[in-house]
Structure formats: C-alpha cells, structure tokens
Symmetry: C2
Subunit: 201 residues, 2 copies
DNA sequence: TTGACATTGGACAGCGTTGTCTGATTTATT
DNA sequence: AATAAATCAGACAACGCTGTCCAATGTCAA
C-alpha cells in the first residue's frame, strides 16, 4: 500500500498521470532497487531492462540518473519506516519493544544495505542524516524511553546507540549472505547482542 | 616498515627491480589507498595524478586495474594485521587485551572501510574470507580465550562476535566522520559497547 | 661510463555510459 | 471514437575510462 497517488517520488508533480505511467514508475523503482543491490554501478540500460521498459521511458520519468537514485532512496526509507512503525515502537517495555521492532525491521533494512553505501558516498553527511529522519524519528524515542526507565545505559549518547544497533543489523545480514553463520540463528544473535550492548554497565 | 622488498604485490616477481621502481610502486599503492577511500570508482588517471606519476607508469607495474586493487587490498590487510598484532592480542586478560587491541586497531581499520566495501562487491565471499585471514587469525584466538575463561559469552559463535565488533568499529568511525558525536568520546563508547555486547548474559 | 631499466608525454582505438531527439505505435481517458 | 499521454525502437553526440603503444629522456647499478 504505497502512496504512489498522492505524492510521486520524482520531479513529475504533474497532477494528471496516466495509470500506465504510474505502473512504469513503480516498475522502474523496483528494478532499480534490485539492480543496485547487485551492482552499485548498475547502468540505466540495465535498470530499464529489468523494468521491462525501454531506456527512454526511464528518462521520461527521471530526467537524470541522480533523480532516479533520489527516488529510489526515498522509496527505500519509506519501506523501512513502514516496517518499523508497523511494529509499534511506542508500545510496551523498551526491551521488548526493541526486540519486536528489530525483528520486524532488520531484513528490510538489509535489503537496502548496498543502497545505503551508494548514498553514503553520493550525498553529504547532513543530507543523509536529513533523509534518514523518517526512520530515526521512530527509533530515537524508543531508546530514550529505555534510558529514562534505566533499562538502557545512559552513559552513552542516543546517537551512538542508534548507530551501533544499525551497524549490528547490517553485520547480521552480511553474515547471512556470506554463509558464515546459519540463517536461523543469526536473528537471535542480533537481538541478544543488541540488548546486551544496550544494557546498563 | 613494509615488506616491499621480499615479495611484491603485483605480478612483477622479477627479482631485480630498481630502487626507483620500488618507490613508484609504493607511491602508487598509497595514492590508490587515498583516492579509493574518497571515491570507490577513482580512475587510474586520478590515482596516477595523486602518486605524482604518469598513467603509463601505473600500467607498467599493474597491468590491469584489477591487479592494482588486489595489491592495494593486500597492503591494507597487512597494515591492519600489523597494528593488531603490535598490540599483542595474546597477552593478558581477554577483556583488557580486547580493549588494547581495539584501541590500537580501529582507526586503521576505518581507513580501509571504503576499500572493504569495494572488495565485498568485487570478490566472491570465499575469496574475501581467505584474504582476511591474516587479521582474523589474530582475533579468533582472543575471542576464544575469553569464552573459555567465561568472560565472553559462549552462546554465540566466534564468527558472530567478530563480525559484530568489526561492525561497531566501522560505525564508530562513521559517526566521527559525520560529526554526530564528539571524536574524543567515540573511542570510549566503542570499547564500552563492544565489551558490554561480549559479556555473558 | 656504459648499458639496461624506468619514466615521461602524448597519442590512439575500443568500449560503455549518459542524456537527447525523433517518428511511429500503443494505450488510457472522456 | 477522438484526443492526449505514454511507450517503443533506434539513432546520435559527447564524454570518460581502460589498456596499448612509442619515441625521447632520465636514472640506477655495476
């Protein structure tokens, strides 16, 4: 249930877009997501091929490669934010909430792992930070709540905890992909380690 | 003190290389390290420019871009391994040893953060694993020692602990770079979090 | 000093990429 | 059925990059 109707990702804010145009845009973004996950330097031709569309069509909706990357990132952040907020980070005890939210989020987060790397080198740090807002704004209160209750350690800044948890989540998916650790056990390891790292000294 | 004399990185195993050739090779590898850290797709021209050398000279020693990347990676792994082993991971209590080793290693590790990303997409997982051996072989016994003594949790695999610590170290340098957290405090945060994550449940 | 090695500066072909354009064709909307 | 929007198929120029080559010059080693 994405809100492709109300507000489109690209610059194309022309109110009247035909249904096939919407479909194309969705295909292109999905295709870009796949292609860029496999190869950060995937070409517009490759993306178009995956989308089952001709290259000119891509340029119809995304006048430049940059603009496509922007749209893809916005889409990805939205997906993650959706998964995160769907797990209701404001409900229940902080520890349980964190476990719940992490389990719901980390797979999706790992899908966009490569994408994050692309944007890290593409955008200035401040821009990156700004765009991650939709996700961050969900996690920050959860961590803070845990600190106030004394179940998460307060001698380290929230920003650090956040970065740390995210890093561990990425590490988890990297381990799964490389086959070094059983897929079934890595999620539990992720949870256990994150909670342990957050627990008061 | 790099061992550029005994065993050269590239294919050039011709025993007799002149001193200026050695110097060029060293410059090129250093330049490549810098350039690739800034931009994973830095061109041979850019690398040559940084090395203060003409492009043809680079191709003299590294017949292909691939071979240069290989050499750079070998050099980087060597650097990290040197920093790690210099902190004597086999000495003292595991917890103290880990702190000592981490403090000595993590800056250097973060210098090669981008490089790691390059190679992750460039090489198959098995190759990557093989090449990281020189560093891994230093960390594994340290973690195992801590597990046997009961000061590190044993309900999670060593491979996981390793991946996790590495991820946290990278997160630490990313935070410093982005300016979100004070540089002075991030090292302590790294240590505190890593030890906390490793401590038995 | 001499001869072999190394570097320079420049030119070159081949390739893949981005971005533009056009004219014909298909598809959605009313 | 008519109109406007979107897609297709393909060509095109401009650009940057890799890798090769060469002739002239500089530098090391014995």
């Amino acid at each position: 249930m994405s809100n492709t109707k109300t507000k489109s990702p690209a610059r194309a804010s022309a109110r009247k877009r035909r249904a096939d145009a919407e479909r194309s845009i969705a295909s292109i973004i999905d295709a870009a997501l796949e292609a860029l996950a496999l190869d950060p330097d995937a070409s517009m031709a490759e993306i178009a091929r995956r989308a089952g569309v001709v290259r000119a069509t891509v340029y119809m909706h995304f006048p430049t490669r940059e603009s496509l990357l922007d749209a893809v990132m916005e889409h990805a952040v939205g997906q993650v934010a959706e998964a995160t907020s769907g797990a209701e980070p404001t409900q229940g005890e902080p520890e349980e909430a964190l476990e719940r939210v992490l389990r719901a989020t980390w797979h999706k987060l790992s899908d966009f792992h490569t994408l994050l790397a692309i944007n890290t080198s593409r955008l200035p740090a401040s821009e990156l930070h700004r765009r991650h807002e939709p996700v961050m704004s969900l996690f920050v209160p959860l961590i803070e709540r845990g600190q106030e209750k004394g179940v998460f350690r307060s001698d380290l800044p929230v920003a650090w905890h956040l970065a740390m948890v995210r890093a561990i989540a990425h590490a988890a998916s990297a381990e799964v992909r490389s086959g070094r650790i059983e897929e079934s056990s890595v999620e539990d390891a992720l949870i256990a380690t994150a909670l342990n790292a957050l627990s008061p000294s």
